[in-house]
């Protein structure tokens, strides 16, 4: 299959690659760029594990082709804190035990980053709505909601 050249800015780094037009953005990030923090749970747009920021907006990378990202700005979970220096949102997840297996977590984080920018002091209702498109099979969401509340206190406004 023919490959097409693309230029994508991921986490502030410019990548020039040639890809098949059918290559999913999630696969491109995970397997071509080895940014495996973005996870794939369903590949049909429901679970939200593959959520990334596309020009600042949360989108599902399993529903987009890599070629569609040509010329765009992508951010993945790897752009947040490192293991030694977690982002306040990650810290809040840690402190509130908002993750168990952690497979869904990167998707939640990338959904919540722009949400908290827009809603620095969210109500519980708003938080539930915000994460309603992300499935977590382990936690029952309760601690995730608590973590978002905590993060909203921690994050600089």
């Amino acid at each position: 299959m023919d490959k097409f050249p693309i230029t994508v800015n991921v986490n502030g780094v410019r990548y020039d690659r040639a890809v098949e037009p059918r290559l999913l953005l999630s696969d491109f990030l995970r397997h071509d760029l080895c940014l495996t923090g973005t996870h794939v749970g369903c590949e049909h747009g429901i679970c939200g594990a593959c959520t990334i920021l596309f020009d600042g907006e949360p989108v599902r990378s399993c529903l987009i082709f890599a070629v569609q990202a040509n010329g765009h700005d992508i951010r993945t979970v790897e752009s947040l804190g490192s293991t030694e220096n977690l982002h306040p949102l990650q810290e809040a997840f840690h402190e509130k035990h908002a993750l168990q297996c952690g497979f869904c977590t990167p998707g939640f984080l990338m959904t919540l980053i722009p949400f908290l920018e827009k809603h620095p002091k969210p109500t519980e209702e708003e938080i539930r709505e915000a994460i309603d498109g992300n499935i977590c099979r382990c936690t029952g969401y309760e601690n995730i909601i608590q973590a978002v509340k905590l993060a909203s206190e921690k994050m600089p406004r």
Partner: protein
């Protein structure tokens, strides 16, 4: 027995890696020269295979090989009976028809593999599906559990006379005699439907055969790494130490990942050896729905006999259990149903019969709850029907019949999934219920709140149920604890981890003994190169069984610290203290030594050692209980039903549970919350729907709905009671499945109550249209 580390809500060691996207999951593994596997799966549930022609696929660029059952020659054979049936149950029938790795001659469920394609990329492997021509003769599918046993039904396994997979009768006392004496006898047909485990991460398998060192390395998302390693070694004719199974981080388990699915476990190692290249297979969501495993599907004919005061005299339950197309997991699930039907109530006479049935559906193995929710659902529904008949309050009739602590240990007379007669070891069941009623405000809701809200036209209802959870079963687990020269500790155990926080809770157990901070304790689970004895993570047994083995090993290391330090300091052991990574003389703290230095001293490289002394600050230990420990609890839930849409909102959810000692209360609560969400899903959102042809209609997250954040209760409260089990030193009972077990029973009761008791609901998986149907039927 909370200590400095043990029993504390210590934050998890594993979080930073997971949060920063730096944790390695199976699909993150990338090896040089790696090939990718895809399975062509049957679209038919029941069919005869005439011919599979894959010649065109081999011509496709990037396709390396294609195999069907024939191509595996003698290597093809049915897989092992992963769990044999208990021999102790006299007169039981069990027909073992174990899972085959790839369909040969006949297809028995939709999604069964027909061919495996190996290609340079997964994309290409799946492209090749279109190149393969499958000639097939469809057969009538077996779906209905009762019709399946009628004469003339199509046969899933034609070498058997019927679709009966097992028939097991267990009885304590004499039900018929009890029935004859009863004032009231209530009979009901009760249905429980199928649910998926649906871990967010699908399964996966990566295998590499390194020919020069003759070593096979397997990465797998298995809950049972050691049995998997043993099976692969045996099938490949290798020694156990030539096969290393590693479980990377696993994105949830919930039961189905315990299963060796044969297609990946058996076929891919063989292919990797042939092709001399690493192979990776990552299950996709559709495959997970069609061809992993799931459970719950049962039809019960149940009966309860009582006095007019509401005292239970006996219970009879004859039930059909769907085992799917094969039964490699024996009778674990229906045996759990039998043991959990009456476990928390005083039921002197109990007759229970399993009729396990083969169908043309995916194989049944445990999913979080594992047969227990069905047993609890049946019993709790009978209790509710009895309460209604006798005009008693649901809480009152339960209180009257719950077992009391003086009765423990209580032999149940029913043999369970662990092959031994059940024994209820400890607990305070009435207190669980009392506390639940107190937290939810039961009396006040019944007497004040509900009447007031009803007067306002609201449809609010309350459900209250009790349950037990048989946990922590044998046979055994083991562990090795080692203090390194770096002063840190390594802990290795044979079970694997799917999010339960073992990397922290196990570290807490060790920290308490050796006085080294939890952060400096590295726990390795599920890597056969680190520890290679054990059974696996199932039946809520990780914390209690592996945890007890780890405790035993840590105690031995502690003893070694004291014994060696006593010699070095020339002080009696009782004058020594350990903590903060060192050991010192109590009366003279300046006389101290870092444990890392002591570890070096424990491994002398010249000179002599005393007889009987083993090197290193290291110890290995095992633990196996005579029978499982039983946790228990109660649940109350207040729901609000919208009479227009039939949508049900859980307003208030209370669970009081008792799982003995908590290693880490924060992690424990997390487990309970997670179980509750699965229970709510099972009760109102999730349902695996098969049509008459055996097609799974709900094979995606678009059709199989899982609870989202807005579906969870507006208010959740957890209450804890602790009655420690005498079965292990730490007093731990399991908890992993607790939340999932009672929730559907409480939900249905609450929905009935919200509808003013107009309808009686005897099935466990509701949804708005189903509730509407009930009301329509009534009118």
């Amino acid at each position: 027995m909370a200590g400095k580390y043990f029993g504390q809500p210590i934050l998890r060691n594993e979080d930073a890696q997971l949060l920063s996207g730096k944790a390695r999951f199976i699909d993150d593994i990338d090896l040089p020269g790696m090939l990718h596997a895809a399975f062509l799966r049957s679209d038919f549930a029941h069919a005869r295979i005439k011919k599979i022609d894959y010649s065109a696929a081999l011509k496709r660029s990037g396709v390396v090989a294609v195999y069907t059952a024939e191509d595996f020659g003698d290597f093809w054979r049915p897989g092992p009976l992963q769990v044999p049936p208990p021999t102790a149950i006299k007169g039981s029938v069990f027909n073992a028809r174990t899972l085959v790795p790839i369909a040969k001659d006949k297809v028995r469920f939709s999604g069964e593999p027909l061919a495996v394609i190996i290609a340079e990329s997964r994309y290409i492997a799946e492209d090749a599906f279109d190149d393969i021509i499958v000639e097939i003769e469809p057969l009538d599918a077996v779906n209905d559990l009762e019709k399946a046993l009628e004469p003339g039904a199509p046969l899933v396994h034609e070498d058997l006379d019927s679709n009966l997979a097992a028939d097991v009768v267990q009885e304590r006392g004499n039900y018929e005699e009890a029935r004859a004496k009863a004032d009231v006898v209530i009979s009901r047909k009760i249905l429980v439907n199928r649910n998926a485990g649906a871990a967010l991460e699908n399964r996966g398998f990566v295998v590499e055969w390194e020919e020069r060192s003759r070593q096979m390395t397997v990465w797998a998302t298995t809950q049972a790494p050691i049995p998997l390693r043993n099976t692969i070694a045996a099938r490949m004719g290798l020694f156990e130490n030539q096969v290393r199974v590693i479980t990377p981080f696993i994105g949830g388990g919930f039961g189905p990942k315990i299963m060796t699915s044969q297609a990946d476990d058996v076929l891919l190692p063989w292919i990797a050896m042939k092709l001399k290249r690493p192979i990776k297979w990552i299950e996709d969501r559709r495959e997970n729905f069609l061809a992993t495993t799931s459970e719950r599907d049962q039809v019960h004919y149940a009966e309860i006999a009582l006095t007019k005061e509401g005292t239970i005299l006996g219970v009879k339950d004859v039930f059909y259990h769907n085992t799917g197309a094969y039964d490699p997991y024996g009778m674990t699930v229906p045996l759990n149903t039998q043991t959990h039907t009456v476990s928390n109530y005083r039921v002197p006479n109990f007759y229970t019969q399993i009729k396990m049935v083969f169908t043309n559906q995916m194989v049944v193995t445990p999913v979080r709850g594992a047969g227990r929710p069905q047993g609890v659902f049946v019993m709790e529904r009978l209790m509710d029907a009895a309460a209604r008949e006798l005009n008693m309050d649901p809480a009152e009739i339960r209180m009257k019949n719950l077992l009391i602590p003086d009765e423990f240990p209580l032999r149940t007379g029913i043999i369970g999934q662990d092959f031994v007669e059940g024994v209820l070891d400890s607990g305070n069941y009435k207190k669980n219920l009392e506390k639940t009623m107190e937290i939810v405000g039961y009396e006040k809701f019944r007497k004040e709140i509900q009447p007031k809200l009803r007067a306002e036209g609201k449809h609010v209802g309350i459900g209250i149920v009790t349950f037990t959870e048989g946990t922590a079963v044998g046979p055994y687990e083991g562990a090795r604890v080692t203090i390194g020269a770096n002063g840190k500790v390594n802990v290795a155990t044979g079970i694997s981890t799917q999010g339960q926080g073992h990397f922290t809770s196990f570290a807490q157990i060790v920290a308490e003994q050796v006085g080294i901070d939890v952060k400096d304790i590295n726990v390795v689970t599920g890597d056969t190169a680190h520890f290679h004895w054990g059974a696996g993570t199932f039946a809520s047994r990780g914390a209690a069984v592996a945890g007890s083995a780890i405790h035993n090993a840590a105690v031995k290391v502690r003893e070694k610290i004291f014994s060696l330090a006593s010699k070095i300091f020339e002080e009696p052991e009782e004058n020594l203290e350990v903590g903060d990574g060192k050991v010192w003389v109590k009366s003279n703290p300046s006389q101290s030594m870092l444990l890392g230095d002591l570890a070096l001293r424990a491994n002398p490289t010249r000179g002599t050692i005393e007889p009987g002394v083993e090197p290193g600050l290291e110890a290995t230990a095992y633990y196996g209980p005579p029978y499982g420990a039983t946790g228990a609890g109660a649940v109350a839930m207040i729901v609000n039903l919208d009479p227009e849409t039939m949508q049900v909102k859980v307003e208030h959810f209370v669970i009081v549970h008792d799982c003995g000692t908590a290693i880490n209360p924060m992690i424990l609560e997390g487990q309970v919350y997670g179980g509750i969400s699965m229970g709510i899903g099972n009760a109102f959102y999730e349902k695996m729907v098969y049509d008459d042809n055996g097609q799974l209609l709900s094979a995606s997250f678009m059709d199989y709905l899982m609870p989202q954040a807005t579906d969870m209760p507006a208010k959740m409260e957890l209450g804890h009671l602790v009655t420690t089990t005498p079965l292990n030193t730490l007093g731990i009972k399991g908890v992993g499945e607790a939340g999932a077990i009672p929730t559907p029973a409480a939900f249905v009761q609450a929905v009935e109550d919200a509808l003013h008791g107009q309808v009686e609901i005897m099935e466990s998986n509701l949804n708005p249209s189903r509730i509407f149907e009930y009301l329509q039927k009534k009118q």
